[in-house]
């Protein structure tokens, strides 16, 4: 019997693959079997990351994975005009605003890729400084409301001073 892959050398190896519970046996020569096995190591035929992601997004965004894609009317980022269909096809967002625009629908995607939906790393030194202050301010304000509701006035006074300090910093900075 000849090799099913090269159709030249005699088949000496039976290679069985099970993909999604479907068993498939190939009769191959030694050289083809070796090449296929090398491919199975995971980095030979590279999965294009964007295509892979696009497939994922297709499911997430509720588009059929096969057949022509029909762009749902109106689903587009107002800042750059990227449509959901475009995003699902390319796997690339169009601009920073897209994250806000497609936000809630992206969360499951983030969870699947990163197992997480919240950044905990570096914050920009110059512009992010403000973000850090604003975050802190909001936390303090929440604590102040809570202190007042519990009638912890001494604590509330402390918090109010801290808030004033930060607000001043924000205005000056």
């Amino acid at each position: 019997m000849e090799c099913e892959r090269c159709h030249q050398r005699p088949a000496t190896v039976h290679l069985t693959e099970i993909i999604n519970n479907e068993k498939r046996t190939m009769r191959l020569c030694e050289q083809c079997a070796r090449e296929l096995q090398a491919q199975a190591m995971g980095f030979f035929p590279q999965i294009n990351l964007h295509n892979f992601l696009a497939g994922l997004l297709h499911n997430e965004f509720g588009f059929p994975t096969t057949g022509p894609t029909v762009a749902p009317a109106g689903a587009r980022c107002e800042a750059c005009g990227l449509t959901e269909a475009q995003f699902a096809r390319q796997g690339l967002l169009g601009c920073g605003e897209c994250y806000r625009y497609f936000g809630p629908r992206l969360e499951p995607v983030f969870r699947r890729i990163h197992g997480n939906t919240c950044h905990t790393g570096k914050v920009p030194e110059r512009t992010g400084g403000k973000v850090r202050v604003i975050n802190r301010l909001e936390r303090l304000k929440a604590q102040l409301r809570e202190a007042i509701s519990r009638e912890e006035f001494e604590r509330a006074a402390e918090l109010r001073d801290a808030i004033r300090e930060l607000e001043k910093e924000l205005q000056e900075g």
Binding site: M41, G42, F43, F44, Q46, N48, L49, H50, L53, A79, C80, L82, Q90, G91, L92, L93, G94, C95, G96, Y99, R100, L106, V109, F110, I113, H114, G115, N116, T117, C118, H119, T120, G121, K122, V123, P124, E125, R126, T127, G128, V131, I134, N135
Partner: protein, 357 residues
């Protein structure tokens, strides 16, 4: 040093063979993705706006504060280079192959020693990269982070309080960080354990690739291991995880090499000797054959079987014998057969020069 000198010189600091664990860890790389606020990402950018991005980066690196902090860095538009020169930057791992597509609107910023570079208008507006020899991921992150701060002194980044740095692809959002090590693992390949080991790594949130980045097979037993997750972990944690996995791999590779030396010494020495012989005397050599022989020879050097060839020379040869460099060295377009002849010639010359010195 100008960009022309960079492309003329086949050597780069990352090939030095210095740095910790450099017998197995060839290089450490950290890159971060950054985008400018209020502009579409590069794939939706008009020609004009793409030019604005390049201009903004040019201004940022000429800024006094940046100069004081980072020293001089030079911006080169990709269309100022010849196709061969562009390809050489890829072969030296200074830019990604993506920067060659639609190159009219792209640019690269390089520091003299080629340790730090910035790709402009690749998938993201900015891709900052640090490339160092050996296992030096922490140092690479420090340098990239400092470069990042230097640029951010004048550039407004697209940053979200909750999601972090915003990137064109959601796989990079958050830290925008991709840290990687390039490992030479001939021992694990020879004892047939590489498959299992790499399979385990992918379960730890890491990715394994062949030498020349995405889209190529693993040549010369060189593997690149990098992090996959960019959101929800701090940069230092991502890097600590990669370092700890790399240390495990180093242990496994060293154990495999020792086992080979102990149990199959004759075969090992034979293989190394044959590689050395072929490289020294062959007259026609394909790129694939050269890569695999380089790997054997390098293993022989690392294990003390071959004594008179410096280990870094092998890495330099791996870059030097890539197609674009051969064209550069010979100064003319070469057919594949001519390329194989010149490659063999160059290898013979370099090896005999190393022996004499």
């Amino acid at each position: 040093m100008s960009i022309k000198e960079t492309v003329n010189n086949p050597h780069s600091h990352w090939m030095d063979g210095t740095g910790p664990e450099s017998d197995i860890v060839i290089s450490s790389r950290v890159r971060v993705a950054r985008n400018l606020a209020h502009l579409p990402f590069p794939h939706l950018l008009s020609r004009e706006k793409a030019e604005d991005v390049i201009h903004a980066v040019q201004t940022a690196i000429e800024n006094r504060v940046f100069r004081e902090k980072m020293g001089k860095m030079e911006l080169t538009r990709m269309n100022e280079l010849t196709p061969v020169e562009r390809q050489i930057l890829v072969e030296k791992h200074l830019i990604s192959p993506d920067l060659l597509e639609d190159f009219e609107r792209k640019a690269v910023v390089l520091r003299d020693d080629e340790v730090l570079s910035v790709m402009v208008n690749e998938e993201d507006h900015l891709r900052l990269q640090c490339l160092l020899p050996g296992l030096q991921l922490n140092r690479a992150w420090e340098l990239v982070s400092r470069l990042d701060d230097g640029l951010e002194a004048t550039l407004d980044y697209a940053f979200d309080e909750k999601l972090g740095y915003l990137t064109a692809c959601p796989t990079n959002v958050g830290t925008g960080l991709r840290a990687s090590v390039m490992l030479h693992l001939p021992g694990l390949v020879m004892v047939n354990q590489i498959k299992g080991v790499l399979g385990t790594i992918t379960k730890l949130g890491l990715t394994v690739r062949g030498l020349y980045g995405e889209g190529t097979e693993a040549k010369g037993n060189l593997f690149q291991v990098s992090n996959q997750v960019t959101l929800g972990q701090a940069e230092e944690d991502i890097i600590a995880n990669l370092i700890s996995v790399t240390r495990q791999l180093l242990g496994q590779e060293r154990a495999a090499r020792e086992a080979l030396y102990r149990e199959r010494r004759e075969q090992l020495e034979d293989r190394v000797g044959r590689a050395y012989g072929l490289l020294k005397h062959a007259r026609v050599m394909t790129s694939d054959e050269a890569m695999s022989l380089f790997s054997d020879l390098r293993l022989g050097i690392d294990m003390g079987i071959i004594k008179n060839i410096p280990a870094p020379l092998i890495i330099e040869l791996m870059v030097l014998t890539r197609p674009a460099y051969l064209v550069k060295v010979t100064g003319k377009d070469l057919s594949p057969v001519e390329r194989d002849i010149y490659r063999a010639q160059l290898i013979r010359k370099k090896l005999s020069a190393a022996q004499q010195s």
